[in-house]
């Protein structure tokens, strides 16, 4: 039932207007995670929520056109790679894991600036991974049946059987 396209002009128009603002807000939350509430996880979840909003109103296939599940899996891996890559880069440069101050000579910036940029990079990776994982989980749960509406019909049969057995 959730897979069928939900035809409602009001919901579709509102979502079409809202989604860009939701995504801009997610990027704001991500970029200002150092010194205000928010950060990579929350920004990623808001990004995923905007995609889920598209899926809820415009349908399953339409959401898959925007972001395929294979692409989402690659994005999830890419996020983990960014996180671990920055961490191990610091390790290779002689510091501890995620010791951002070691990145300062590479990017030609001051130490505090290097720490700030390092945290921003980490949070970008976290946001990518969280967005792709949340999106994949919801799309997989919705698409977990094999056919179109078969499991739904089966569920109704079970429901009817239960009510009839209760009636006896």
């Amino acid at each position: 039932m959730l897979r069928s396209r939900y035809q409602d002009i009001i919901a579709q128009t509102i979502v079409r207007i809202m989604v860009p603002f939701v995504q801009i807000y997610a990027l704001y939350v991500l970029a200002h995670g150092h010194y205000s509430p928010g950060g990579g996880f929350q920004g990623g979840v808001i990004l995923a929520a905007s995609l889920v909003l598209i899926f809820l109103v415009y349908g399953y296939e339409n959401a898959l056109e925007r972001l395929k599940l294979a692409t989402a899996g690659r994005l999830c891996s890419l996020g983990v790679l960014i996180y671990a890559g920055i961490g191990f880069l610091c390790l290779l440069l002689g510091g501890n894991f995620l010791d951002y101050s070691r990145l300062a000579p590479i990017f030609q910036v001051s130490l505090p600036r290097a720490r700030s940029l390092g945290i921003l990079g980490i949070e970008t990776g976290v946001a990518l991974a969280v967005m792709a994982a949340m999106y994949s989980i919801i799309m997989d749960i919705v698409n977990s049946d094999t056919g179109n509406g078969e499991s739904h019909a089966a569920g109704h049969e079970i429901e009817n059987g239960e009510t009839s057995s209760d009636g006896k």
């Binding site: 959730l2 979840v45 929520a49 919801i138 749960i141 429901e159």
Partner: protein, 81 residues
């Protein structure tokens, strides 16, 4: 922190929690759980934990409700017990 507002929001949180447990329709339970998360988020924000409130609003009230609704559509809608 205003303790009257805390108490008021806590009352709504408890009402929503009890309703989500006791209601027979699983779809209604999922929606009431979303309302529970929303009041919980307001309670966190009012007590000064804005970061926790942010996470509660995005994860639980935003994505979690959709997750539960999608799960309800995969099973029967009525609760058995």
């Amino acid at each position: 922190m205003i303790w009257q507002l805390d108490l008021f929001l806590l009352l709504f949180v408890i009402i929503c929690a009890l309703a989500a447990i006791n209601v027979r329709d699983l779809l209604s339970a999922a929606i009431i759980l979303g309302a529970y998360s929303f009041f919980m988020c307001m309670l966190w924000a009012e007590m000064g934990a804005v970061d926790v409130a942010f996470t509660e609003a995005t994860v639980s009230a935003g994505v979690g409700t959709v997750l539960f609704v999608a799960a309800v559509f995969k099973t029967v809608r009525r609760s058995k017990d």
